[in-house]
Structures are given as C-alpha cells and as structure tokens.
Amino acid sequence: MASWEHFPHEADIGVRGRGESIAVAFEQAALALTAVVTEPHLIRNAEQVQITCEAPSLDVLLVDWLNAVIYEMTTRSMVFGLFQVTIDGLRLTGKASGEPVDRKRHEPVVEPKGATFTELRVSRDGEGQWVVQCVVDV
C-alpha cells in the first residue's frame, strides 16, 4: 500500500516512501518531503508543474527527483500536495500539483535545503513493496 513517513536523523529529517511500484514510492517520498514543510492535506492542488530528470542509477534518480521538487518549491514559492510519476528506465517524468505558499493557512515550518545521499536507499522489502528513502537537509 502506498504510504510515506519520516524517520529520525539527529540534525535533520529522513523521508521515506513506499509503494507497489517504484514510481508510487517516489511519489510518496515527495509527499513526505512536503510534510517536512506543511501538512499535505492543507494544500489545494490547483496548479501543475512538470518535472523531468535522468540519473545514472535509481538511487541518484531519487535524490534528483526530490531536489527537483525542492527547486520548484523554492523558486515558485509553492507547496505541492499531489505527485504523479512515471519512470522509464532511469528517466523520470513527473507532475507536481499544488499552490503558492499561504503563510497563514500552511504555516510552513522549514524550507528543505537539499536531498542528501545519507541513508539513501531504493530497494524492495520482504513483501515486494518498493521502499525509497534519504535524509533531507533542512
């Protein structure tokens, strides 16, 4: 089942996504990233932003994907509550849906600086679910 969670890191915060496909797990990891900033359910998914990235391996692709989301968040001053991802080999095509940051409604906590290679994993668990994760510097 698709889900996301945070895991502890002493200085920063870990984001983890799970899903039956790797694409869903990437979507969930991005939601976990959003939840570092604000509660995802507070976001109106009114505007869409296209994101593409390509990497030499799946785990670097996860870092690139999350960094691309961070870039769109900061340069557009937006938060995203819905992600749709397609992965073809080592190429990702994604759509992030959200709205401009509303400081009163979203009460944004912190801005992510970047996704790191720390605790970076893209793997399948014992039940065949994809689990993807890394620590985000905030």
């Binding site: 945070h6 895991f7 502890p8 890191h9 002493e10 200085a11 920063d12 915060i13 900033v37 030499p56 670097v60 870092v63 690139d64 960094n67 961070i70 870039y71 900061t74 340069t75 001053s77 940051v101 400081r103 979203h106 009460e107 944004p108 906590v109 912190v110 801005e111 600086k113 970047g114 996704a115 790191t116 290679f117 720390t118 970076l120 620590v135 510097d137 905030v138």
Partner: protein, 476 residues
Amino acid sequence: MDITPLQQISEDQWQLPATGKMRAPVIFYADRALLEDMDDKVREQAINVATLPGIVKASYVMPDGHWGYGFPIGGVAAFDPDEGGVVSAGGVGFDISCGVRCLLTGLQVSDVEPVKDKLADALFANVPAGVGSTGHIRLDDSEMTAMLSGGARWAVDRGWGSREDLARTEEHGSMRGAEPQHVSQKARHRQRDEMGTLGSGNHYLEVQRVAEIFEPDIAYQLAIAEDDVVVSIHCGSRGLGHQIGTEYLREMAIAAAKHGIDLPDRELACAPLRSEVGRRYLGAMRAGINCALANRQIITHLTREVFSDVLPKAELPLLYDVSHNTCKEEEHVVDGVQRRLFIHRKGATRAFGPGHPELVEQLRDIGQPVLIGGSMGTESWVLIGTTEGMALSYGSACHGAGRRMSRHRAKKQWRGSKLIKNLAHRGIIVRSVSMRGVAEEAPGAYKDVRAVVDSADRAGLARKVARLEPMVCIKG
C-alpha cells in the same frame, strides 16, 4: 557513542588511532559526558573523513559533534593539494558559509526593556524570515555576479553598511578566489528573491543581553560589558548555497571513482583539489561564501534601520562575523613546517589565535572572536581564539549546541504556542510564522551549550569571554 576504542589524552581530548583504511587518527575534543551523548554515527563519519586522500594530521570532532551527512557536524579536516588532497562538497554542506554575526548596540537592558515588544514587532516586520518570505532586493544577472565576487564589500559599496563592518568580518568581507561563472543559472535563480532573508530552521535574529563576563580585559577590548544589549544574526547563503551544494555533491559523488577515490559514504563526495571539478567547486563555493557575507550584511542594514526607528540613540557597530560551513585555504605550521592547506570546517568555527595576520589590528593582540549560537530560549556565547588552538585544531572551535533530539521527536513532544508562552514568562519574546517550527526548534531539543563551551574552553580551542541571553528572538 561507545567510547571503548578511544584513548583518553586529557579530560577533553580523546584519540582513535588510525587503523584499516584510515590515513590519520580521529581526535575528539569533548568531555566524557558529551562523548557518550554523541551518536555512534559521529565516530563512523569522523573515521570516514580520516580515510580521504591527502588528509593532514587528523580528522577532528569539536565538542558539539553530531551526526551530519558525510562529515560529522562539528568536523574539521585539512587536506594538502601536494599530497593528492581533496575538497569535499559534503564537507562544506548545503548551507555554505552559514554563520553568526554579532552587533553591538551601545544600549543597556534598561533602554530596551520598555520597548521590547515594539522592537520585536518591527524586526519581525522588516527582516524577512521563514518559508515563503522574500527579500526587498532583486538582483539582475550582472549584479548577482558582482555580489558573488564582492560579498559584504559589494553590499557596503551599495550603501548597506560601513567600511568598519568589513574589518570585522572574516576575509575582510570578501572571499578571494570566487568564480561566479561556476555558479549555475539554477543557483542564481534560487537566490533571485532571497537576498537579505534569514531563511528558516535554526536560523534567527536575536536581541540579547550580556549576562556574564568571563574575561574582563578581552571583553573591554571587544566593547562588551554586563547588561549591554547586542544583536546576533544566524543565517547563511540561502538558496544559492543550497543549489551549489546540491549540484556539486552529485557531480563529485558520481566522479569519485574516476578520480580513484573509494568513498566509504557517497555523501562524503569529494574531488582532488587539483582536478577540474575540484577547482570549479572551490570557485563556486567561494562565491557562495560571498553570498552569505552579503546576505548577513544586508540583514545588518535592515536591523540598523529598525533600531534607528525604535531606539534612535542606538549605534550598531559589528563585533564580528564568523562562518561555520566552509573550506578555506590557509597557512598552518605542521610539525614545524609551514604548509598551505585546505581546511574544511563543517559546523565548526574558525578561531584564530592572537597575532594571526588575518586579523585586523584591533583584534591582533587578543585573537579572533568566536560566536557560538544558541537556539531560541538558550544562551549564546562569545569566545576568543587561542594560540594553542592553532596547533590543536587548525584554529577551529565549536559552533553551537547541536541537537540532542530529532525534529521528528521534538514536534511530538512540544507545542509551539505553549513554548512561546513559557518563554514570554521568562522575558523572552519570540516571533515566528510557524508554531510547528517553534516546536521543532524547542530549546529542549538542543544539547546544553554551556557544556559544549566549557569543554572547548578546557581543551584550549577557544576561551570563554561572555555569555549572552536572549531577549527577543525572530525565528526563521
């Protein structure tokens, strides 16, 4: 942390001898309690640093060492280009040249107390802080390039400060060797609306009172006395630095194998100082340092404007500006030989001792001020660099308390609104856009900064000069 494998050298110095792939030992500066409180990951990361090519003398951990990414936070390491030494994007981190500056005000606590609320409101309204805030200054591409080359000097040239400010800033306000052409368009774009903004997380602007003086002669020369009011600003190179870190970390991690570097942890991403990517990163990272220096200079200007409105008799000269996420080329004497080395300080403050040629004349006899940031509701410190610190840690000291609790746990343990109320009872006014942000930055989520500073003082890294207590905190 399991300290069994460590050899104790003194109360505050411990050594882990080089074994296996380590090219140098690890030296921890901390007392037993601080060491035992550190995560095992700190030792693991410090060992990993010790395996990097060209490391000189040791991989050091400061008393506030904690689990970072690649390098531990509170990590110091020097590399020699003549011995295949490296520069590590992971060893500098995402927030290039994050640092603290402290401004004097010429005011006493009794001057500020009656207008504390008004001052807090005015600072909160005029110094952009938190997610979604934007600066008042927009830079076109050529001005961005000028800022990346000039740093705080660029800001002063545009009227946001004085020449005296530059004398009290590391690198005299302008990092040499910056190469803005190696800063990508994406990094520039990310900075477009962020000049003169505090950012978020543990970044802040605080009005503080000098609560205690430990070295009266040094304090006198720094023009601080008990019950004086000062302003401390903690922030860095904002989106531009984050993007430089993101891009070069990826490039170095992927290219490491090509350079024959066996990375024990990809986050240690590094490249030989004499490689093409290593040189490019140094140029971009130095431009990032200038961005941080310019940013803190602009925030200084905004702060001065607020004070001139609320407390017109105030004057706010700069005590000093330190950076704690950098890699700098410096001269150090190692085993009696003068060498040019590249010193990484990741969550560690430069702390040059008396007589260092980098220091301006007024500071040359006493050493470099070392500013240790607290967190909302906890104390901050002014220390001074020592002669012995130059040999102990390449003139480096701690940078803050360090977290003892993850954001994850802090968010569950505290409520922001209640924390703000409790701090108000203690006379500390907090302004923030996010209650959850306040909870995640709760004073209780941080280690005891006093234990960290005491250990640094006993170890000889830097000497305690003054303890500062917050009066007003503008949370980023």
